[in-house]
Amino acid sequence: MTTSVLDTGNTAWMLTSTALVLFMTLPGLALFYGGLVRTKNVLSVLMQCFSIASVVTVLWVAVGYSLVFVPAATPGTNALIGGLGKAFLANVPRGALSGSIPETLFAMYQLTFAIITPALIVGAFAERVGFAVMLLFSAVWSLVVYVPVAHWIWGGGWLQQLGVLDFAGGIVVHVTAGVAGLVAALYVGQRKGFPHTPMMPHSLTLSVVGAGMLWVGWFGFNAGSALGANGTAGMTLAATHVSAATAATVWMAVEWQRNGKPSVLGVITGAVAGLATVTPASGYVGIAGAMLIGALAAVVCFFSATTIKKRFGYDDSLDAFGVHGVGGFVGSILTGVFASVAYGGTETIDVYQQVGVQALACAVTAAWSGLVTWGTFALADRLLGARVEEEHELIGLDLTNHEERGYDLG
């Protein structure tokens, strides 16, 4: 952990992991989401993912990395937010190490997480929020939610001090993004016609491709969070893969039983649910724990993306909350159990107490993310109107926001 010699093997794996996690967003998530919207909005979603990757990079390099990982100048505030000592990566020479890898690489690896988190949110308000609002929101949210929460949990902040366990971002990534998605969907309201008009995925083919990329990329997300090529990375990769496969299988079985037929959307959603849910636990659990987490992920997320959403009537277009948010909660709580050596995990913890810490961390970050999301949308609503005109929603965001069309196959 704190060796100060560069290890080429660890560095090789982290270079690869950085590529893999960027690949999850570009084009993985972009495709997964892009395939699920209607033809007239496909570009808007791709554009959102691409521009978030670009703008968040600039913000991260400018201040984000430093505020998360550099101790605050005044120790008293470090519980809440880091310092600006490495703004613009100015004090990160190419020889600097973070553990046994170059610090520049560590900063870039962490950046890929900062990118995918706001990109996950756009799934919740897809097809009705304009590009400018989306961009404003993503920038603000990235700085005001992602950066402090990452500091609290990974950068030495108060939750880390409380002993919260979040191996690869169940809370930092999925809870924060999921809740933001739900709140945003509630703020902007349902898409016109929802839920009576069928709003079928325009290309499940693309979504399957995206799901495959997410699955593969997630090896970088979770096993990369070992920050080296070691036994933890190996077991984390195994736990990640097993959870995904179990969740896909269980989701398929549940659907088969309930609807008489398993669906493609179901299987890929199941896999993503398994991946998201195992994330916080992935580095701590054994194979059995991972299987159980995957199975639970499928059942709970199936329930949330179908029954609960229908029941409460919010329009979480692509189930950003239903899968990532709910999966994030479930996984983060279960981490308090399955990380324990008593249940095949690696940590010597008191399960009851740990579950309490996990729940507290989830609750506080969820509240903060929800609050800031509501506030930012209210602000954007004032400045630009939170959602596009009805006419534009009808025509689609591709033409009205970008004057382009996703396909011209004629």
Binding site: P195, P198, M199, M200, P201, E255, R258, N259, K261, S263, L265, A305, T306, T307, K309, K310, D319
Partner: protein
């Protein structure tokens, strides 16, 4: 002249083309269409919700013919596409006042 519009099953287009060519028809125009009728559509499922899709894929074949050809043409289309099951489709016959072949400027039955 007559303008004949046949709505048939999508996988029957080639059979119709051959049958029409067999009775001397020299040209026709085909469009993809969706039909609603007695034949029931299918359901699609999305996040647990089932949606009924009432329209089924069809192909529309339009063919301009000489009056005298009409019986043969009706018979040829029916023969080529009839399965006896619901959804075989319809043939509609309209009156055709004039035809022009753009390439040559010919008109009337010479342009068919």
């Amino acid at each position: 002249m007559k303008f004949v519009i046949a709505i048939v099953r999508p996988n029957r287009a080639d059979e119709v083309r051959q049958a029409l060519a067999g009775v001397g028809v020299k040209g026709m125009t085909l469009t993809e269409a969706k039909g609603y009728g007695r034949q029931k559509g299918h359901t699609e499922i999305y996040r647990g919700a089932e949606y009924r899709i009432d329209f089924v894929p069809k192909v529309k074949i339009e063919v301009a013919i000489d009056d005298a050809e009409l019986p043969l043409v009706l018979e040829a289309i029916s023969r080529a596409t009839k399965t006896g099951k619901i959804g075989d489709g319809k043939i509609f016959v309209l009156d055709l006042l004039e035809t022009v072949r753009i390439r040559t400027g010919e008109s009337g039955t010479a342009a068919l």
